[in-house]
């Protein structure tokens, strides 16, 4: 559970988490195994179609929550259950405690419920004097350790068999083995007696089917079945977002949930409970069945046009499984109660701004969560929106508003950049890197070499006459982006050189400014929209076939976020859409232009590994083009499993959380080194900055090149 008061404290917690070697290895192994398991479990299934269906059906259901609740209540009560609605966490806890008191219950067994974690139900009941035993193995382990879960599906993934053995030795008062199978058997036996003696069972639910008043609960261990069968009272605590209209729709969600959670086609058990069933332990012969629905801010979310989609979440945990930050720091440092990307969002709504203000900054915007979400939630977008709200509540966040002020004023910004190269001279010399950073500001940032500003920016080197053929095949507007314009102009020049013979007209419109992504990442959406408006105003999409950029980040931001940021601006909305349509990345354009022939293919001049920028592979959905180019250019392309894992830069992220950024970078460089690659190629100057800076610092045996540089190097060999 992340509870830091400020960013400094939070960073301390992150540093401590990074030092947890066991957890790092466990999560690393899991990240790899999960990827393969998930792929295999979806084999033969139209996953994209399923995700779309789940998203749509959940949206429709969330729009009619009140109606579904009434229908559920009517059906469930007709079948003998008592249905309650709790507006807040406290109300839910009090309700459940009252049900226990009214039924003279003292011993409670519980199956896993994130909703109960949300309301801190166990603490509440224990304070009232009830004995509450978690019966899911992982939950029991962390309960005994007085911890919260570190993963929504595998709550004890941060612990080793040795930790568990020591814990069980304490609990049983007898020395326990470290053999996992034996430990599981001990838990089975220790907990079985708890089921026998319990008088109340508390469960969560994955589905509340309105048309029949049925609860559906998934589990692998079988504890849910005992919790809902053996005691005479059953209380189910269910978020209202679990309401779903029909049996068919529940089955549809069920076909995606376990696959996305653990790579299982289905869990060992799915329990469907309608109303009050026979119960030998009950004096009436019927189970006392209570269903407590929890609102706690959900109905307000359902009515919010931006955030309603967060209620699609089925709690599969996949957004944590693929998150490069989660993989490094684990769930205790990457969530308050709800963990992973969805946790960053829900924490704000369920547990308040204060609990979320540090967490919300801890996102690379790498889009891995968005790609994996089984309900198609645009998690990175919602994270940015929450961040905006949080910042909105804290007037005058200095860095963000200063950045907004400067970046919006192109002349001022560019003047800053130009003067920067004089200032950096004593620091950089002629090395191309900034060698002597002031210790006091940069002590956490020394994990990579930072590039120096170029002597002359691209805009001052640009010669339009070379790209003005009489009858061009394509008319192109070049969008340089700040990093290539002022730091890496050689990348642009290499890239353009290869287009000299392509019969294309290229315009570089000097009024273009920063694309605005850094501001969007800082939560300054209005300023980001201003920049979008500015660039769209100066580059007329109607005049061009393509707006070409060699920066995947600028490309993805312009294509995806410009229309979003300008959605409500009737004056430019249409033009933003046209602009976005025309945006193309360098690799895709090179394939299209056919400038890289296949003459070199198969020559295998050097081993080349590839790093897929988040903004290219997930942002723009480009996957094949860069690999094809490398092979056609004569490189021996050596794949690796982490190609699509973020490099750890995340724009301003690496400045906010240098320790996490550096850990992600190390992992990346290590994986590349294992391939024996001589060069590492990527399509984004930001990734080059991070990867090259790290590779030089660590003296890795490979060079880091932008695709344009790699192609130029190979093709000029011929």
């Amino acid at each position: 559970m992340q509870t830091a008061d400020n960013l400094r404290q939070y960073r301390r917690q992150l540093k401590a988490a990074l030092k947890n070697e066991f957890q790092r290895t466990a999560l690393d192994n899991f990240a790899v195994a999960y990827r393969d398991g998930r792929e295999a479990s979806f084999a033969g299934i139209d996953r994209t179609g399923l995700i779309e269906q789940i998203g749509t059906l959940k949206d429709v259901a969330m729009a009619r929550l009140d109606e579904l609740f009434d229908q559920f209540r009517e059906k469930a009560e007709a079948a003998g259950a008592i249905v309650h609605m709790a507006r807040s966490d406290t109300e839910a806890n009090e309700l459940i405690s009252r049900i226990a008191a009214e039924n003279n219950c003292t011993r409670i067994v519980k199956s896993k419920s994130m909703t109960a974690e949300e309301t801190l139900l166990n603490h509440f009941l224990e304070n009232q004097g009830y004995e509450v035993i978690e019966t899911d193995l992982g939950e029991w382990i962390i309960q005994l350790r007085h911890e919260g879960p570190s993963h929504m599906v595998m709550p004890a993934i941060h612990l080793s068999r040795n930790d568990v053995s020591r814990l069980f030795s304490e609990v049983t008062g007898k020395q326990q083995d470290t053999d996992i199978e034996k430990l599981v058997k001990v838990a089975r036996r220790e907990l079985r007696q708890r089921f026998v003696s319990a008088d109340m069972g508390i469960s969560g639910a994955n589905f509340a089917i309105a048309e029949t008043g049925t609860l559906g609960i998934v589990s692998n261990e079988g504890n849910v079945r005992l919790v809902t069968t053996m005691p005479r009272v059953h209380v189910a605590l269910v978020g209202i977002d679990k309401l779903i209209p029909t049996v068919s729709e529940a089955l549809l969600v069920l076909s995606g949930l376990p696959r996305n959670a653990t790579g299982q086609a289905i869990t060992s058990y799915v329990t469907w409970i309608t109303g009050a069933n026979p119960s030998a332990a009950s004096d009436t012969g019927k189970k006392k069945m209570h269903i407590v629905f929890l609102d706690n801010g959900r109905s307000a979310m359902a009515k919010n046009p931006v955030f309603a989609q967060a209620l699609r979440c089925v709690r599969c945990g996949a957004c944590a499984n693929v998150c490069p930050i989660y993989r490094m720091v684990g769930g205790h440092a990457y969530g308050h109660i709800y963990i992973g990307a969805i946790g960053l969002i829900l924490t704000y709504f369920f547990h308040g701004r204060d609990k979320d203000k540090n967490l919300i900054e801890n996102c690379l915007n790498c889009q891995a969560c968005k790609q994996v979400c089984v309900a198609g939630i645009d998690l990175p977008r919602l994270i940015r929106e929450v961040q905006k709200q949080i910042i909105g509540g804290e007037k005058g966040l200095l860095l963000a508003s200063m950045a907004a002020y400067v970046l919006k004023r192109r002349r001022l910004f560019h003047a800053f950049l130009r003067s920067g190269r004089y200032i950096q001279r004593p620091l950089a010399g002629k090395t191309g890197y900034i060698r002597h950073l002031p210790e006091v500001f940069f002590k956490d940032h020394k994990f990579k070499m930072l590039p120096a500003l170029a002597e002359k920016p691209f805009r001052d080197r640009w010669d339009p006459s070379r790209f003005s053929p009489a009858h061009p095949k394509y008319k192109i507007a070049l969008f340089s982006g700040c990093l290539q314009d002022f730091v890496y102009p050689e990348q642009l020049e290499a890239g353009l050189e290869l287009l000299l013979t392509a019969n294309v007209r290229i315009d570089f419109i000097p009024e273009q400014g920063c694309c605005g992504l850094p501001l969007y990442m800082l939560g300054e959406h209005d300023a980001a929209a201003d920049l979008a408006r500015w660039n769209i105003g100066h580059i007329d999409p109607k005049k061009y076939d393509f707006i070409l950029t060699l920066c995947a980040s600028c490309g993805s931001h312009m294509k995806e976020n410009y229309p979003y940021l300008l959605e409500t601006d009737a004056g430019v909305r249409e033009r933003a859409g046209q602009f976005a349509e025309k945006v193309i990345d360098y690799s895709s354009f090179m394939v299209l232009a056919g400038s890289v022939g296949t003459a070199n293919a198969g020559t295998k001049t050097a081993k080349a590994a590839y790093h897929a920028p988040c903004h290219l592979c997930r942002g723009l959905g480009v996957r094949r083009a860069p690999r094809a180019l490398l092979e056609n250019a004569g490189y021996e392309y050596v794949p690796n499993d982490e190609e699509e894992t973020c490099c750890g830069l995340g724009g301003s992220y690496s400045f906010k959380f240098p320790e996490v950024s550096s850990a992600i970078l190390d992992k990346k460089l290590g994986t590349v080194a294992e391939t024996g690659a001589e060069i590492l190629v990527t399509d984004c100057p930001g990734c080059v900055m991070q990867l090259r800076g790290g590779a030089v610092k660590q003296e890795r045996p490979f060079r880091v090149l932008h695709m344009a540089e790699a192609l130029k190097a190979s093709l000029s060999h011929v």
Binding site: A26, A79, G80, T135, L137, I141, A156, I157, L159, R161, V164, T172, K174, Q175, Q176, D177, I180, K182, V184, K185, V186, R188, R189, E190, L191, R192, Q193, F195, V196, I209, E211, T212, T214, N220, E221, G222, R225, L226, T228, T229, M230, T246, V247, L251, L252, L254, A265, I266, S268, Y269, T271, W272, I273, T274, G275, A276, N277, P278, S279, A280
Partner: protein
């Protein structure tokens, strides 16, 4: 999908999650199989699973609750099947129980139940079990043996949606069972038999061979 293909798909999917799947010519073969599984079980070690390990006082007492003979729970078998079983069990020293299973939470050796139907796509058995004893037989038995008729296999859960909705029309408890109870909560190591059966056997009575 034709019936043979459904059976084959069910078998493949169920085996993939460690279920033992056998085809039987008729119910008598299935009964004999279940009795044999029970007879072949190592009595104490598997019987009161966990009893051989160091346990706290109260948990250890639970081992004593168990009668030291082998037990088979048969909550939803027909009267003629029970008669057949009684004869078979007498020779093997196995006790049969049909009701009051909650008293045997320490462990029943084998729970033998009839399944309502199955779903081929995931290798899932569906048991409509509002009856508490039927439910418990599939939960507290060390080995769950389920009998399924080959004509009761649906291709996927969607095909079974109406039938499920029928179950849910009144107070009800329905179980989807796919393989044995499992966990990966310690170091993600897959371990079978946490709170439910350690083994699941599915006996498919093939209508085409039995008739």
């Amino acid at each position: 999908m034709n019936p043979q293909k459904l059976v084959a798909q069910f078998e493949q999917k169920a085996r993939a999650v460690s279920a033992v799947v056998k085809t039987m010519a008729g119910i008598d073969d299935a009964l004999a199989y279940a009795v044999n599984v029970c007879a072949q079980k190592k009595a104490c070690a598997v019987l009161a699973s966990g009893c051989e390990y160091a346990l706290s006082g109260p948990a250890e007492e639970l081992c004593g609750l168990k009668q030291w003979e082998k037990l088979m729970a048969v909550p939803n078998l027909s009267a003629p099947d029970i008669e057949t079983l009684t004869v078979l069990c007498r020779d093997s020293g196995i006790g049969l129980i049909r009701q009051g299973l909650a008293a045997y939470a320490g462990g029943i050796d084998v729970g033998l139940t009839m399944a309502d139907f199955a779903i081929a796509a995931t290798g899932t058995l569906v048991l409509n079990c509002p009856d508490e004893d039927l439910r418990l037989a599939t939960m507290i038995s060390e080995v769950h043996v389920a009998v399924l008729r080959s004509e009761d296999i649906y291709a996927n859960s969607d095909d079974a949606a109406d039938r499920l909705a029928g179950f849910f029309a009144a107070s009800d408890y329905t179980a989807f069972i796919t393989g044995a109870s499992r966990t990966a909560d310690i170091e993600r190591v897959l371990t079978l038999g946490v709170h439910g059966p350690l083994e699941l056997h599915v006996l498919i009575i093939d209508a085409s061979t039995s008739s």
